[in-house]
Amino acid sequence: MGKVVTRENTLRYQLVGLIPHLRRFARSLTKDSGNADDLVQEACERALKKLNRSGEELHLKNLLYRIIYNRWIDNLRRRKTRSAKLIVLSEQNQERASDHHAGNRLDLVLDLQTALDKLNDEHRAAIMLIGVEGYSYAEAAAVLEVPPGTVASRVARARAKLGELLYKRRYESFRAKGLKKLRKKNESEI
């Protein structure tokens, strides 16, 4: 006898189909495959509960990305609270180390992964959704639960930082005063 096709079963198989994409996004946040997989599993469980409860037709992939991102940010906050003292100490050490190597710092060109790791989590999530997942600003805004203008700003900042780290370029020329502000697509929604 074949399996009964229920909404929940269908959702589960859709989730399995999305796993590679979810792992990619989670990996970019956690930088670690084990933690990324745990995050994906947790997101799938939460999504199933939410979808079973609400009965709404939600955009499954967006919902999962949103859960992954929110869970990751929550985890980071908890970790930061626990290890605040440790972070302060390590920052002091870093300052000393960077003073010591100040002469070489400008010549440093980083590889992509290292450069990406130096972005803050919000900027990294934004550049991943736009650059790698191919989301529009509006779609990424729905995942990150911020206005599309904030997504645009985070992506631009991420690019500026990556540009500095990867290509040793600074873009002060574009930050001069009196710049022309162009109208964005769907600006009324922003």
């Binding site: 590679p20 084990g34 599993q41 469980e45 790698v132 645009a152 690019r159 710049l179 162009l182």
Partner: protein, 205 residues
Amino acid sequence: MNQKFDDLTLSSYVDGELDPESMREVEAFLESDADARKYVVNAIKTTARLRQSFNKVLYEQVPEQLINTILSQQKKKGRLSTVFHPALRMAAAIILVLVGFGAGWLVPTNGDLPAFTMPTPFPAGYNQVVQEAMEHNLSGAPRQWQSPENKAVIIVTPVKTYRDNSGQYFREFRMEVSTESERRQVDGLAYRQKGEWKTKAVYFQ
């Protein structure tokens, strides 16, 4: 034309987020400004490198455990979110606790349970077979390791998977260890930390 655009606008241009008229204005500007062109080229290059780097994940084998967890919930609803299986509490109460694989292995117990020692030196494949079984095998599917001289065979079979309220994953497993002189079955509990499985507890049959 002396008009300059900020990096936010150029970034939006790269992402195709400007309206058509603005896109044309930026394109005209790019023809006359080398710095802006460099910004756009680098932004496109970075995006391409990001995609190339992270797309590798799409082609990696998905851990069977992950698939199994998502699909298996439909058979036994809510099982994964249970805090701790009662049998495991009992197991934890009667057994010795090992911190990490290889930390002493199955040392002699308090007398109620027979002492059991593994061949010396400690089998190098033990950690590997347990890691692989925990990470990739479905519950009920065994994974075997055999020493090069056939002096020891270890078969590890995950039995059940749990997760506690803090998000920690646990797997019960059964392990059969056969040496030249004896054969022993051991049940255990492992937990996943930073992508690695560690033995929490083991107990004899």
